[in-house]
């Protein structure tokens, strides 16, 4: 089974969604009263579904037969040689639609059907969650509307086309900064008016309770599978695990299975943009401070007055000024370490992984690779070549070829040096 909810961890939220309890105060539900009934209904439905073996079995079957899971755990030998430690890649890039996100949307869409709702809405930045939501909606025969900032619809025209082909309505959002956070605002506005028949498929492990915990339950298969695969193959747990952190769904999906393994060091890599000493980054935990955004108390990039500051990352999927509240809890308790990785470091790692392993990663995932290689070098120095680090390769890079072409200056016909043949 890929998705069985094993034990809960010592880092779960309480019944009101507070991570670390109300005293720590991470998470919670800062939402209009108009949405509270729907969030309560969702919380009950999610608890019941997770306790219902037939729901879990159906989710598992869909993931296996439709989404191609469990994803392999791959020993990247050439990369391992390069750094002197064992590098394992959890190949979420091989999933249907190209990223870990399919787990979350199939879980939420299955729950939507169980709740008898007929329409789903979603926000998207890069378009990956939008494409995954449109896919799940097509699979289950649900109406689907995706909100996307106009800045992003221009940057990610290919994903807009994919959503259209999948039958979804894509609504461009021009308010505020016209990016992901504004798409979330607009989806919430839709939801207030449509909540009787519509489910909001939230794209990451952030937002009001129960989303951070529910999205974690739907993505935790990443870590449950990887932990078992690692034990089966090597008989030991990894020394360290690593993931990139935007809103935090792929990271919490990997981390959960390992939270109560004290010997496993946990690393989250945040988008450092042009550098955390510049205003252009999205390293929320590293450089933000405590605040409330989109219904949860967490780390937020904000000014003195509590106005949200626009974030920047070369990777649209990490370009968010907040972060899931469980990560705030893991950071402040010291259970996980969050470090920034710059645009340039991520792009270098993208090129490196492409050339040494024949795997073109999503730029999001390249952040995890870049940060993890540093950790691997340190571990190798301490523990020798058996040191093992497990990296979540959350998605593939096809969607990022436009950025790569621009960044690396690829694909210019004038740069082709060979003479034509034939």
């Amino acid at each position: 089974m890929t998705t069985r909810v094993e034990a809960t961890t010592s880092y779960d939220a309480d019944e009101n969604g507070w991570f670390g309890g109300p005293e720590a105060g991470w998470g919670g539900r800062f939402m209009p009263e108009a949405l509270v009934a729907a969030l309560d209904e969702l919380t009950v439905a999610w608890h019941e579904a997770m306790a219902d073996p037939s729901f879990v079995a159906e989710f598992d079957a869909i993931l296996r037969e439709y989404a191609g899971l469990p994803s392999p755990l791959y020993h990247a030998e050439r990369l391992s040689q390069l750094v002197g430690a064992r590098i394992l890649l959890k190949r979420e890039d091989l999933n249907h639609t190209g990223a870990h996100k399919i787990r979350n949307v199939l879980g939420q869409a299955l729950l939507t059907r169980r709740m008898g709702k007929t329409r789903v809405i979603a926000e998207t930045g890069a378009g990956q969650h939008g494409v995954a939501s449109a896919t799940a909606a097509a699979y289950f025969g649900l109406d689907c509307t995706v909100y996307m900032g106009t800045v992003d619809t221009r940057r990610q025209a290919l994903n807009v086309a994919r959503m259209h082909l999948l039958g979804a309505t894509v609504v461009p959002v021009d308010s505020g900064s016209a990016t992901l956070k504004d798409a979330i605002n607009e989806a919430l506005r839709d939801w207030v008016a449509s909540v009787d028949h519509t489910a909001y498929l939230f794209g990451t492990a952030a937002g009001p309770h129960p989303f951070p915990s529910m999205v974690r339950d739907f993505t935790r298969g990443i870590g449950d599978e990887a932990r078992r695969q690692c034990l089966d193959r090597y008989g030991v747990l990894p020394d360290a695990i690593a993931a990139c952190v935007g809103g935090g769904s792929n990271a919490i999906g990997l981390f959960t299975a390992f939270l109560d393994d004290p010997g496993v060091a946990i690393f989250g890599f945040e988008p450092g943009g042009e550098g955390v000493d510049t205003p252009r980054h999205a390293a929320t935990i590293h450089a933000g401070d405590r605040g409330v955004l989109h219904g949860a108390r967490t780390f937020v990039l904000q000014d003195e007055d509590g106005q949200t500051i626009e974030s920047h990352s070369i990777s649209a999927g990490l370009d968010y000024p907040g972060v899931g509240p469980q990560h705030a809890h893991l950071a402040t308790t010291g259970r996980a370490t969050y470090l920034p990785v710059t645009d340039a470091e991520a792009m270098d790692a993208m090129a490196l992984l492409s050339r040494t392993e024949g795997i073109i990663p999503a730029i999001e995932s390249a952040h995890a690779v870049a940060g993890a290689l540093d950790v691997a070098r340190r571990l190798a120095a301490e523990r020798g070549p058996d040191a093992t680090i497990l990296i979540n390769l959350s998605g593939r890079g096809d969607k990022d070829m436009g950025t790569a072409i621009e960044y690396f200056g690829l694909g210019n016909p004038d740069d082709v040096t060979e003479e034509p043949v034939g």
Partner: protein, 274 residues
């Protein structure tokens, strides 16, 4: 005058109170103060000053546009408090309507052992402000605000919605002071052609739990609608229509103020007909 005396006075006149909203700093700080004072002069009983916020999930396009304009001009929370002070000086009770984070993170959040919430409450009280309306904060998430409001003798105005259960309505009204804000429609702020048929039953369910006055908001834009709402509510809350009156006169402030005064007079007449 306090918010509850303003409602009591309206009730003594056998009419509903007119509650008018504009975001601070729109079209700019001084222009916003002029506009709010014009609304007071033309018959608003209670004023709500909106605190413009970068992520206003409960607002429709009209209020978003005005708040964004204020933010683009660099409005600060201290400007909002300055606006409150200028309006409260007229004697009309003045509350702030705000999303939660700017309160929690006021002046950069917790400093020298005093939370942002505590400092915000202290500064609001010393500006003469009467309290807060908190559209994305429900009482069950608000212990810190409730404690600070009680320390500084401020009104706590929470919202009830058509989707609220009777238990939640009771929990909410028990935490309110000043009045209870009933959102008459399931949706964001914005003028609507017809008033909602969800409002009457919501007001009745709310009244069953409290003696506080119940104000109804979301969608009212003219005197006839105000009269309809006034027939079953203690207060008629109007926001987007006032903003629209100013947005419609971007290059002529005097004309904008005249439109605002005329609209206020029409609405003030409506609440007396209801």
């Amino acid at each position: 005058m306090t918010v509850s005396t303003a409602f009591a006075k309206a009730r003594a006149d056998d009419r509903a109170a007119l509650v008018g909203y504009l975001p601070a700093g729109f079209p700019d700080v001084a222009g916003g103060i002029d506009a709010l004072r014009a609304m007071v002069d033309a018959g608003c009983d209670v004023i709500e000053v909106g605190l413009p916020y970068s992520d206003p999930v409960m607002d429709g396009p009209t209020i978003q546009a005005a708040a964004q304009q204020a933010l683009d001009r660099g409005i600060r929370t201290t400007d909002v408090l300055r606006t409150v002070e200028a309006v409260a000086a007229t004697g009309t009770p003045t509350v702030i309507m705000t999303y939660w984070n700017p309160v929690e993170h006021y002046g950069g959040g917790r400093r020298n052992g005093r939370s942002g919430v505590e400092r915000f409450a202290a500064d609001l009280a010393s500006a003469g402000g009467a309290g807060l309306i908190t559209p994305d904060l429900t009482p069950d998430s608000a212990p810190e605000w409730i404690a600070a409001a009680d320390r500084h003798d401020l009104d706590k105005i929470f919202l009830v919605a058509p989707s609220s259960t009777d238990e939640r309505i009771a929990m909410t009204t028990a935490a309110c002071r000043g009045f209870v804000y009933a959102t008459a429609v399931m949706g964001v702020t914005g003028a609507r052609a017809t008033t909602s048929d969800l409002a009457g039953p919501l007001v009745a369910r709310t009244r069953a739990t409290t003696d506080l006055p119940v104000g109804v908001g979301l969608g009212v834009s003219n005197g006839d609608q105000a009269a309809t709402v006034a027939s079953y509510a203690d207060g008629v809350i109007v926001g987007s229509a006032f903003v629209r009156a100013l947005l419609d006169h971007p290059d002529d402030r005097a004309a904008g103020l005249r439109a605002l005064s005329a609209l206020t007079a029409d609405l003030a007449d409506g609440v007396r007909r209801g």
